[in-house]
Symmetry: C2
């Protein structure tokens, strides 16, 4: 065997073990009996240690020295392995252990503080997490921007400065669009109970309509919907809400977007570094284009309206146009995860600016709540009423996930670019969508993006698929046109 | 840390990883999408390799040299670790790999051959498996009896010669009892469809009645019922059969017996070598005493009769006595897994004698089918009609599980001893059982056997609990008395 083959054999086992570890997480959220929690923590820790040991195995360094990459696939494989090997090796084992311990503890403290609406109870833990992540970033990046080192874990190659430039262009137009919409009368809301069996049945139908391959996946209920796994076993979850079936339907379509990416990757990349979505941002572009640009389009909601009537009977919305407006209703709210297409990115931009300032030292942990509340009032026009609706609402910072938030908006930006290219390639797509047929869209996405997995960098992945440099212009144009029409702006 | 503490820390991670690997098997039988099979095979292999590497880690040898065992728990822990370390190290890696590959292949060939009723198609693979297991046994046992080396994996300390003496005492009385029963008129059979929801609801009620802790477990459907896991996460499965609800109910009670053993082990032994059932035979004693001596008793079936009437209405059995006879109906059959209490062990004894002869070389693989058919006719009084009802019926040999079958009957023998002691300790137990209350039985079993996990050897575990040397006499006396009364012998 060549050094490359030996490395890839070793790597393949690591990928298989990573799938096992990931499925343990799936099990925990869907199947695990409650009393198993303490044992499960030890199981997770043992798997994490096995994976960590493999990722810094000194044989990888030796193989990398000798391995030859005669083709783009091999080059890409080596690039991924090298990146992971060097990244993992740079962080001292005791710092990694301290981070794991502290974030696990901080998560519990955060949940308690959020329940108690007590920011002060969380801040000392947050300070610790910030300090440790700064140390980690310094170990990885040396003198370079520590925020970029963290961002790179979720979006390889992205920099805080580039994102800031893009986001600063997004923000004013989103703020203006939001304000214009909220000056107009709001569409009617759903106002009845929708039975759970009907929601789940239609949710499954939607998953299949968007091409979810159930022979290589399954759908279960979970408190927070997620997708999980790569290759031949990609599972999704959903949830129901008695008065809000859109929560169920659009969660499902969102997770199907993530799953479609994983399921769409070339079989030849199975259990290799290329056999996974290439970044959080590109992943989110798939979940978002399925959920929003396709799933919340006039054409597709026309079909969904008929499906809901078939499933639930008359539910108080008179026709497809009214239904389209209801699906895309914009209203005031504190919570990011419940936000509509227009306001969602404003929530993310707020977090991005604050976490970047925390990491640079421009913002002190003790000033975080005030900074949050000021920024919220500036962008959303009303005041945060309590910490669980403000600085304590998201789990991410307690888990040390600095650099993760911006990938949500990057995903929306990417989705905007991809959608523009998709519509140019399939100009009569709406004729299909209005029949509930997404196949030409999903085929295009698979051929141009999904199948390539980790072959190219995130930016090159989007460039290759959309035929343009990633830019915020398409998503802004799309939002202004769509909501301009719905709200008669 | 002392050498003992270091060893136990290492071992604890190994036990946690073994739990993860086991849950992967549970997932495969209950949740895994069908298309995931090839990926799952790689995941299993990767976990097996991680576990194997840990089990022969040379540090274990160094720790064992230095470790001191000041108390019985530490002594028992070291005994288990030493046994596993030496056993694993004795088998060359290439032989272990060849065995894994061959049995995986043989399993597929067996399934195909069984479907085709084609014994000849399976024999070359079986020959390979037998040869490899003999090599493995020789590596482990040197010049000692190879069958004993294999048996020791499932029932530490047991020998083929001891079991043969016990089983030779069982066989004639079981053959005679069977013949006497089948001379008598058979009790009526169930003869209607029982709806699945009702079966599953009553099955869950039975699980709880036998003390299954659902906060640390769950019940799912599977093609072949099994229990899985140790410690805080012990899951069981069941199945339904439209016309045979006893299949569902007694499968469930059987698996609850296995699970109760795991769930009953002292919390202090969690994720240690003592935190698992000590042997297959002792495990089977728990499943069997729950299923048969308790679950199929006159007292408990009286309660179950009422439950079935409540669930399904009148199902054609007039009263408790008739129901008791129906539950314990003995009839001709080819299949071990469907056999009643009287005939089950005759199926096992047949396999034990044949597999021992295969391993010693007294029986050639090519003569196996004829030997099976002769023995079956001798003990059961009628001829095997086709291979799937004879030599091809069980999966075990294709998987190389020689030495496993006798633990089924050993479990029944142990259950007989434990039941005798339980009845002496709780003489009025039937008063509880007739109310569906098993708690004094399960409390006695937990206190005397289950809680101790792997603290003592299998034989000493039974001795400690039952207060007697294991012997076939109690199970024979019990069967003759019970079926003598039902069949008026």
């Amino acid at each position: 065997m060549t050094a490359y083959d030996e490395l890839m054999t070793f790597q393949r086992q690591t990928e298989a073990l990573a799938q096992v570890a990931g499925r343990l997480g799936w099990d925990q959220e869907t199947m695990m009996p409650q009393g198993a929690t303490p044992q499960r923590a030890e199981e997770h820790a043992a798997m994490a240690q096995v994976l960590h040991a493999r990722r810094i195995d000194p044989r990888i360094g030796a193989w990398l020295e000798l391995a030859e990459a005669p083709d783009p696939v091999a080059k890409a494989n080596l690039r991924h392995v090298k990146r992971s090997f060097e990244r993992t090796a740079k962080v001292p084992a005791d710092l990694a252990a301290e981070l794991a311990k502290t974030t696990s503890l901080a998560h519990r403290v955060w949940a308690q503080a959020r329940g108690d609406e007590d920011v002060a109870a969380f801040l000392p833990m947050l300070q610790k997490v910030v300090d440790l992540r700064k140390q980690e970033a310094a170990a990885v990046a040396g003198d370079a921007d520590p925020y970029d080192a963290l961002l790179d874990d979720y979006e390889p190659g992205a920099t805080g400065a580039d994102l800031a430039a893009m986001f600063d262009a997004l923000r004013p137009r989103l703020v203006a669009l939001r304000a214009a919409i909220l000056d107009k009368p709001a569409p009617v809301q759903l106002d009845q109970v929708f039975d759970e069996d009907g929601q789940l049945a239609l949710s499954s139908k939607l998953a299949l309509a968007f091409g979810y391959d159930i022979a290589n996946g399954r759908i279960d209920k979970a408190v927070h919907p997620f997708s999980s796994g790569s290759g031949l076993d990609v599972r999704i979850t959903t949830r129901t809400s008695p008065r809000d079936p859109f929560n169920c339907f659009y969660s499902t379509i969102h997770e199907v977007g993530h799953a479609a990416y994983e399921q769409g990757i070339d079989d030849a990349y199975l259990l290799t570094p290329l056999g996974r979505g290439v970044s959080m941002g590109v992943h989110e572009s798939q979940s978002r284009i399925y959920e929003n640009q396709l799933g919340r389009s006039r054409a597709f909601t026309g079909w969904l309206f008929g499906q809901m009537r078939d499933t639930f009977g008359d539910f108080g919305i008179p026709d497809e146009d009214a239904f389209y407006a209801t699906v895309n209703r914009v209203s005031d709210g504190f919570i990011r995860t419940e936000a509509d297409e227009v306001q969602y990115n404003l929530h993310v931009l707020l977090r991005f600016d604050l976490e970047r300032a925390l990491m640079s030292g421009d913002l002190a942990v003790n000033d975080l709540e005030a900074a949050w509340n000021d920024r919220f009032a500036a962008d959303f026009g009303f005041a945060v009423d309590k910490p669980s609706n403000g600085v304590l609402q998201d789990v991410h910072w307690s888990e040390g996930l600095f650099g993760y938030f911006p990938t949500y908006t990057l995903g929306n930006v990417y989705a905007g670019c991809l959608h523009q290219a998709l519509r140019a390639a399939v100009p009569d797509l709406d004729a299909d969508l209005s029949q509930g047929d997404t196949s030409r869209a999903t085929t295009w996405l698979r051929a141009n993006l999904q199948q390539h997995g980790g072959l190219r960098s995130p930016t090159d992945t989007i460039k290759h698929a959309a035929g343009m440099d990633p830019s915020e212009a398409p998503i802004l144009d799309y939002l202004e046109a769509k909501f301009g029409e719905i709200y008669d702006l």
